[in-house]
């Protein structure tokens, strides 16, 4: 901007905008927070004692019991298995639903219907599903993997349908022009365009599911959660500390590897292009 284009000093300072929607949201939040805090019934003295309690446990966890690393790692590997298998189930079941939910593939009515089905899968937390599945098929990792798979269908289907909706219509029209069947259109017109993005979502979901599978053990659905739950209830803090370290290290490792692969898939060889994770998360609604 050239100096001549600058506003004259008399009106140099623009009036501050007054975003009504934001202000009222903030006010609503404060009121809600006040209500929640006032009626929570949490004794103030307990809040004041909390930092000391947390510090005390944190101190007892370190140094951790290194000899326990093998046991903790074994349980964490089971969590990774649950997360992977669950993600595979979710991915496989979500793909057909995603095709149905994409407006440009099926049209408005079917799309709206399929979207509601996807939302329904998303609404129930994994752990609640796991409680039911454990009752149905017994304790173990399988009900955990199923719970994660079923819950993942919702998010994966929604993201995949959005990826499909943003494809270029050209190949679809070409497929129509040569008289392709519905399946052929999907295979040659839709999937090659949308698949890289969809596979990146699968990997991202795997990272989320690692965290989800690490807690399934607290209700007996396999993995590292049971080990942490046991060590905590027997007050074996050094073992709990070791388990926590294993959870953090393995999760971070998988995040790093999976994140790299995702970037490679989305951007080809160009590692400078980042996946806009915030946007993805906002669409996904986890």
């Amino acid at each position: 901007m050239a100096v001549a284009d600058l506003p004259r000093s008399s009106d140099a300072r623009p009036r501050a905008p007054f975003p009504l929607a934001r202000r009222s949201l903030l006010l609503l939040l404060l009121v809600l927070f006040g209500w929640a805090a006032a009626t929570s019934g949490i004794p103030v003295e307990r809040i004041l004692r909390a930092p000391a309690g947390i510090w005390n446990i944190a101190r007892l966890m370190f140094p951790p019991d290194w000899a326990y690393a093998g046991r903790a790692l074994g349980a964490m590997v089971e969590s990774v298995h649950i997360a992977w298998f669950g993600t595979v189930i979710g991915a496989a079941l979500s793909l057909p639903l995603a095709l149905l939910a994409a407006k440009n593939v099926t049209g408005q009515a079917t799309s709206t219907g399929a979207r509601q089905v996807l939302n329904a899968f998303r609404a129930i937390p994994e752990l609640v599903l796991a409680v039911v599945f454990v009752a149905m098929i017994g304790l173990g990792a399988v009900p955990g993997a199923l719970a994660i798979g079923i819950h993942s269908i919702g998010t994966l289907g929604k993201l995949a349908s959005e990826a499909i909706e943003s494809i270029d219509r050209g190949p679809l029209e070409a497929a129509d022009a040569v008289g392709a069947t519905w399946l052929q259109k999907m295979r040659w017109g839709v999937l090659p365009q949308a698949l890289p993005e969809i596979v990146a979502f699968w990997l991202y979901r795997f990272e989320i599911n690692i965290r989800a599978s690490a807690i399934l053990g607290v209700i007996g659905a396999g993995g590292v959660g049971a080990v942490l739950s046991n060590t905590v209830s027997y007050r074996r803090w050094d073992k709990a500390g070791m388990t926590l370290i294993v959870v953090v290290v393995v999760t971070l490792l998988i995040d790093a590897v999976s994140g790299r692969i995702r970037r490679r898939i989305i951007s080809g060889g160009d590692t400078s292009a980042e996946v806009a994770e915030g946007e993805m998360v906002l669409q996904a609604g986890a």
């Binding site: 209500w35 609640v128 409680v131 399988v142 607290v218 905590v232 994770e277």
Partner: protein, 264 residues
């Protein structure tokens, strides 16, 4: 006519070898985890009768039990509100410290970024498990768990948004000699505010869903009822809880999506 176009069909591009590596890796991981969790379709078929019995037990849904749920549901809602407000406020600070654009120096940036990743790698229920042990059972443990969980999620999203902010206003602030707080307040915050509010609303949804289950480990809310129903094999009550969760999550999500649309 077509004879005039001898090479009308373009040659197929060579498929990258990496695709085959990826497929092999995928199959290996799937086989390994299949074996690891001991998945067996035959066993699932065997359990079908039992599964049907559980479904039968779920119906009719125990509608008459709803008064029992009111207070725990309010507690769940309160936990989500308190956890979101405190968590998102803390995340505001951490988020700005963990972005290269706004961090006062490299050390602060590195430390906050690492801390953020570590905090984010522990799931909400594991936090709840630890906090129940630290501050005893009840909603306080749940709120603490949600706070930690939120700081991880919101700070990460916020710091990445800050990373991508146009640098003009920052340069202007620097030129005028702004301090850390002034730079953030005047040059960055207004740019990321819509995103931040959207992330906060999104975490509120996450919190609501999370606080439904925190009670399973004794951290307050409706999860405690779920736990009791589970130990007493009251699947009709569990069905009611699932239904109620469903309705609440649906409503809050619809509200949050419409709010987010208005904010952006």
């Amino acid at each position: 006519m077509s004879a005039a176009l001898p090479d009308a069909r373009p040659t197929r591009p060579a498929r990258s070898k990496l695709v085959w590596v990826a497929v092999a890796l995928f199959l290996a991981m799937t086989a390994w985890s299949w074996d690891g969790i001991g998945f067996s379709p035959a066993e699932l078929v065997e359990k079908a009768d039992n599964a049907r019995r559980i479904v039968d037990d779920m119906f009719p849904v125990a509608w008459q039990a709803w008064p029992v749920l009111v207070e725990p549901l309010l507690e769940t809602f309160r936990m989500a509100v308190i956890g979101s407000v405190i968590g998102c406020s803390l995340a505001l600070l951490v988020g700005f410290l963990a972005s290269q654009v706004t961090a006062p120096n490299g050390v602060v940036y590195g430390v906050s970024k690492t801390l953020m990743s570590v905090v984010r790698s522990i799931p909400d229920v594991l936090y709840a498990l630890l906090f129940v042990a630290a501050v005893s059972i009840g909603p306080l443990a749940g709120v603490l768990a949600l706070v930690f969980f939120n700081v991880g999620v919101v700070a990460k999203l916020l710091s990445e948004t800050v990373d991508a902010v146009p640098l003009g206003p920052l340069e202007a602030a620097d030129a005028a000699g702004a301090t850390f707080v002034q730079r953030v307040r005047a040059a960055v915050f207004p740019q990321v505010l819509p995103n931040y509010l959207a992330y906060a609303l999104y975490t509120f949804e996450l919190n609501l869903r999370a606080s439904v289950v925190l009670g399973l480990v004794g951290a307050g809310g409706i999860g405690q009822v779920l736990r009791i129903a589970q130990t007493r094999y009251r699947y009709d009550v569990i069905a009611l809880i699932i239904f109620v969760t469903f309705v609440i999550v649906f409503l809050v999500e619809a509200l949050s999506i419409s709010l987010r649309r208005r904010l952006s």
